[in-house]
Amino acid sequence: SLQTRITAQETQNKAHCGRLDTLAQDIENLNKKQADTVAALTEAKRKQLELAHRVLRVLVKQEITRKTGFTISCEEEQ
């Protein structure tokens, strides 16, 4: 019966080993996915900077236009 327990323990340990290999694979996959996420976030940050720059340019242009009375004449015509 001691031998039976030892055999059972061996089986159990083998099962643990297999489960750990699966988990190691899962973690590796998560690492790969995270690398993709990092790349996507980097692109989102780059796009954000570009958009912020373009919005600022449009706002500044509009301000100049407004000051020279362009927008006011637009509104008057309506």
Binding site: L23, D26, R57
Partner: protein, 75 residues
């Protein structure tokens, strides 16, 4: 014999502990996977909003590009 029985008991304890740790590790991995999915969805959402903002920006840029030179001449 007694010594061997003690050894087997100790192994039992080790196996149980390992098993518990594996269950908890499994839960951690599942939680990380879920968080990863949430992050990806949020990123998709931000990218979609950026595309929307860019679409809104294009006609504004075009219309101000037309206004621009005229104003410069006026000044």
């Amino acid at each position: 014999f007694l010594n061997q029985a003690t050894q087997v008991n100790a192994w039992d304890q080790l196996l149980i502990k390992n098993g518990e740790k594996i269950v908890s590790l499994n839960e951690s991995v599942a939680a990380v996977r879920l968080d990863q999915q949430r992050l990806d969805h949020e990123l998709d959402f931000v990218a979609a909003q950026q595309a929307e903002l860019e679409d809104a920006l294009k006609p504004l840029e075009a219309s101000l590009a037309n206004c621009g030179p005229v104003d410069t001449e006026r000044e």
